[in-house]
């Protein structure tokens, strides 16, 4: 299984995501430049964190127009796996690959801290049997306040598309939502950083569990390898 980590101008967690999958899980991982028009046969496309194009407009509002995003959309439509972390989540929302939007934290301040997250029963890849009831992952964002209209929220909840909720809401997100998936279940987005929770010296190694869960939808053997 091949992992592609996108690089936009202003991506700054691209190396973190790269090392989560390469050093952390030992998987073949490569970078894909935003001007490329193909994701190079990747099984999982990771849209990493950072400040794409500086995020001086709405976060992710410019990155969604990068040439590579056409290829990401095709990959997703073919059922390929996509994981957006932090700015990557914001970009996937702006690109319409995930519903909702992320606005300024209710504190109006950036927040960097480790959060306890409640794992939801969100389908074959994301559930408490694979992941456990809780994970502990760092966040680092100024605009992670998840918003969606009432009908959209109802759809998210009834389809079990919510992946993770904050045990203590750090940013004002609606229903404490920290991560969601699309209806089809192959596109994942989350504000917390699995790419900051995998080294032995990190406060938690739950990033590995979450990364494996995302991959398990297409590659169930990844779970056996970890056992």
């Amino acid at each position: 299984m091949n992992i592609a980590v996108l690089q936009f101008p202003g991506s700054n967690c691209d190396q973190d995501a790269f090392h989560l999958f390469s050093s952390g899980l030992g998987l073949p991982t490569s970078y894909v430049w935003h001007k490329d028009t193909s994701v190079g046969g990747a099984d999982l496309v990771v849209v990493p964190g950072g400040f794409s194009y500086g995020d001086y407009l709405r976060c992710g509002a410019i990155a969604r127009f990068s040439p590579v995003m056409g290829a990401v959309r095709e990959h997703a439509e073919r059922g390929g796996l996509v994981l957006g972390i932090c700015n990557g989540f914001q970009i996937l929302c702006e690109a319409g690959l995930l519903p909702g939007a992320l606005i300024r934290n209710s504190s109006l301040e950036y927040r960097c801290m480790t959060c306890e997250l409640v794992v939801e029963e969100a389908g074959p890849a994301f559930n408490t049997r694979l992941i456990g009831k809780r994970v502990s992952l760092p966040i680092g964002h100024g605009e992670g306040n998840f918003r969606i209209d009432a009908a959209g929220l109802e759809r998210l909840e009834s389809n079990h598309q919510v992946l993770l909720r904050y045990a203590e809401n750090p940013n004002g997100s609606l229903s404490s939502i920290a991560g969601i998936r699309n209806e089809e279940g192959n596109v994942f987005g989350m504000m917390p950083h699995p790419d900051r929770a995998f080294e032995r010296f990190h406060p938690s190694q739950d990033g590995l569990v979450v990364a494996r869960a995302v991959l398990s939808l297409r590659f169930p053997e990844i779970l056996r390898e970890s056992a």
């Binding site: 101008p9 202003g10 700054n12 190396q15 950072g50 400040f51 995020d55 209710s106 301040e109 990190h202």
Partner: protein, 772 residues
């Protein structure tokens, strides 16, 4: 008289006669003006006058401090062929570089942005971060961590709140976006910084020895490139602005404060590192920091022993109609000057095209030794490059011991009739001290900084020192970093205060399991023309130099910020030091938080017995007096060597040094970790001492350590053999209480109450109603 060879400037405004008023407005003294005319062989053009004024400012030329700085050791005596050699020394380049072994090195430096932050805290602090990051990657290093050292007035003032909010948001804005983690810092609040906050930012980067780049222009005919952001009128004359005292009119200087674009900086980092990775392409590179295009051209030429010619029409500009004075003096951010090998122009242009950045061929390296600037086909400046750098004036200022020292240094609690605390007073003092913004948790600040990006942060902000894993090719190494300076001690005893800044910083590193390696300093002082201020500066520098020599910690670079005064007077002298320590093995990494109930608490260094300069005196008695605590370098060295040996032997599970607030504050802070323990200690055996000095005095060279019961006998025996005072004073407990027996009775506090006072103090002060 204009020199015969220079034609009129295309912009008529720049052809006005150079009057004494104009010279004064440029911050140059009449004798300095005469000197520059001598270098030119005639009168300068207005563009040239501007160029001299910024290059001969304190900020660029260190004209008042250069003789003092010569006392700093710049090499490491204990360096070996594979570790600790200083590869680029202080003052040679934009940042110093030191060998960390296996062909790898680190570059680091601290720099101030005090005056811009006083006027416009957000942009001032943001661009301070941007500037220091450029100083690091211009050396060829990838920036991997940031720290900052901040000083503000007391937090009860609305002005301080506005400044703190703005500075923290500015640092966060820049550092977070550019993707370099802010892993440590220090913050003090004291009236003396009211209206003149200090914002010192440090960046550290990693590189292989063969990746070191220099800011040198060499090779006749080599092309000079300008890369990065376009030039605007922002930050005009920022360097000379930073060399003036702040006054009520300073806000009229706002155009001298630059505006940062961290996104541009991120692109510039990646593009420059990509360019520098191409073998043999880059001859020299320098960032355009203070004094922008002026400084980068004359410094590269002067270092290379060459000349440089630039054509301003080729400089990317974001405003129409800028004249040569404005282009040369602009301090627009995120710009670099690069000299590349002739014939390889296409390679640099391709890299910058990939990153959608400007790469403009603006000039050529010559062999004339002169910096020649053309605009619209006309020579607007023609100056010997070395006259701007090496020949800048140097002054030995007058120094006079300030009169206040006679009074403060003689003060003693007995002499002034200060009564010792009673049981009630001793109990009330601890929560009050823990809630002092200088002592309280800085979580409100550091949670706004991304301190985890690049996934190498091992010890998060809030412990004695930041610890980071460096990924160096296929290997990894661990370093610790810490800033320090208690300005109150430096005010009360400048030389000793500076010594304390160093030894305390080293002690913090040792508590983290690190061996101190090298340091960078930021000298923040008042106007050097005032003999009182210059005395403080001179004494502090000598104190730092003494400690550096004693502990074999070389200075690899630094910054001087003078004229830190507000209408109320000069700031407390603040020679901030930042030391990097090296951690041999990951297992040696030690935190300040107690881990296990039942483990023993050992006090190293003896019982504290001084009150001078303490936070206790300030907060409880409203006094800023007494002598700074005593320093015994030999005892300090024995203590630090002993602790490091014990950590390496695996006998220490937590270590925390006594600093502001003394013994009980340090002990409380050890309880504020994830294990949520209590503690029970007995200090009643120290009955001969003043209770306030014992509990809250700030005697130096003291450390509290957590030791397993099974290791206690060996730790105490080794301490005795090493001539380090050590005493088991109690145990950590699985209880909710901190209990302290003293000669006047037993004190009890619920740890949760202490913790909440400590944790919420700054947050409560900074709370904005209605926001979650």
């Amino acid at each position: 008289m204009k020199r015969a060879d220079l034609p009129p400037n295309p912009d008529p405004v720049l052809n006005q006669p150079i009057t004494p008023e104009l010279v004064k407005k440029h911050g140059l003294l009449p004798e300095e003006y005469d000197k520059l005319c001598g270098h030119l062989g005639g009168t300068p053009t207005l563009t040239e006058l501007g160029i001299f004024s910024v290059m001969w400012s304190e900020h660029c030329a260190y004209k008042n401090t250069r003789p003092l700085l010569k006392g700093f050791p710049t090499e490491k005596r204990g360096a070996t062929a594979n570790f600790g050699r200083v590869l680029v020394k202080a003052g040679e380049e934009n940042a110093g570089i030191i060998d960390v072994g296996d062909g790898w090195a680190i570059a680091f430096k601290i720099e101030s942005h005090n005056h811009p932050s006083a006027i416009e805290p957000f942009e001032g602090a943001a661009t301070g971060v941007g500037g220091i990051i450029r100083d690091i990657f211009t050396m060829g290093a990838r920036p991997v961590l940031l720290t900052n050292s901040l000083r503000f007035g007391e937090l009860d003032s609305p002005v301080t709140k506005r400044l703190l909010r703005g500075v923290v948001a500015g640092i966060a804005h820049y550092g977070n976006c550019v993707g370099v983690p802010t892993v440590a810092g220090d913050v003090y609040f004291d009236r003396s910084y009211e209206g003149n906050p200090l914002v010192n930012a440090l960046c550290l980067g990693t590189l292989r020895h063969d990746q070191i780049r220099r800011g040198k222009a060499t090779g006749l005919g080599n092309p000079v490139y300008y890369v990065g952001a376009a030039t605007g009128r922002d930050g005009l004359g920022g360097a000379s602005f930073a060399s003036k005292e702040l006054s009520a009119e300073s806000s009229a200087d706002r155009p001298a404060v630059q505006k940062g674009d961290p996104f541009m900086e991120k692109l510039l980092i990646e593009a420059c590192l990509e360019m520098m990775a191409i073998p043999g392409l880059v001859v020299g590179i320098q960032d355009m920091g203070a004094a922008g295009l002026t400084c980068s051209t004359c410094e590269t030429a002067s270092r290379g022993g060459a000349g440089i010619e630039i054509e301003l029409d080729q400089v990317p500009q974001r405003e129409a109609g800028m004249n040569s004075y404005e282009v040369m003096l602009s301090e627009s951010q995120e710009r670099m000057l690069v000299i590349v090998q002739k014939g390889r122009e296409r390679e640099i242009e391709e890299v910058f095209a990939k990153w959608d950045l400007h790469a403009a061929h603006v000039g050529t390296v010559t062999d004339t030794g002169r910096m020649v600037v053309r605009h619209h086909g006309v020579v607007v400046a023609d100056i010997p490059a070395a006259s701007l750098t090496d020949e800048a004036p140097v002054y030995h200022r007058q120094s006079k011991r300030p009169a206040y020292l006679d009074e403060t240094s003689r003060w003693t609690p007995e002499g002034s009739g200060l009564r010792d605390v009673d049981l009630e007073g001793a109990k009330a003092a601890l929560p009050r001290l823990l809630a002092l913004p200088t002592i309280a948790s800085k979580r409100w600040i550091y949670r706004q900084y991304d301190h985890m990006v690049q996934h190498g942060t091992v010890v998060l902000p809030g412990s004695d020192a930041g610890v980071v894993r460096l990924r160096l090719g296929e290997t990894e190494k661990f370093i610790a970093i810490k800033n320090d300076c208690n300005g109150r001690y430096c005010y009360l005893n400048p030389r000793r205060g500076a010594l304390i800044a160093m030894v305390e910083c080293l002690r913090n590193l040792v508590c983290s399991g690190a061996t101190p390696l090298a340091m960078t300093d930021n000298l923040n002082f008042g106007n050097p023309y005032k003999p009182d201020n210059f005395y403080q500066l001179k004494e502090c520098v000598e104190g730092l130099a003494e400690a550096c020599r004693y502990f074999d910690v070389p200075v690899v670079g630094g910054n001087v910020s003078l004229y830190n005064e507000s209408p109320e007077g000069a700031i407390d002298p603040t020679p901030t030091v930042s030391v990097v320590g090296f951690i041999e093995k990951e297992a040696h990494i030690t935190r300040q938080f107690a881990r296990t109930a039942g483990s023993r608490i050992v006090l190293l260094g003896g019982a504290p017995d001084e009150l001078g300069g303490s936070q206790f005196l300030g907060a409880i008695h409203g006094l800023k007096t007494g002598d700074a605590p005593a320093v015994d370098l030999d005892a300090e060295k024995r203590l630090q060597d002993f602790l490091l040996a014990q950590i390496r032997a695996g006998r220490i599970s937590a270590a925390h040094d006594l600093s502001e607030g003394g013994l009980l504050v340090a002990l409380s802070e050890m309880l504020f970790g994830p294990a949520r323990l209590g503690a029970e200690v007995d200090l009643s055996g120290q009955g001969s001492l003043r209770v306030d000095a014992l509990l809250y005095g700030e005697s130096q060279g003291r450390i509290l350590v957590e030791v397993g019961p099974g290791d206690l006998a060996e730790v105490l025996a080794d301490a005795a053999a090493s001539a380090v005072p050590a005493e088991a004073i109690g145990s950590f407990r699985a209880s909710a209480m901190l209990s302290v027996a003293t000669g006047i009775g037993t004190l009890n506090w619920p740890v949760a109450d202490l913790r909440s006072k400590w944790e919420s103090s700054i947050e409560t002060a900074m709370k904005r109603p209605g926001l979650g």
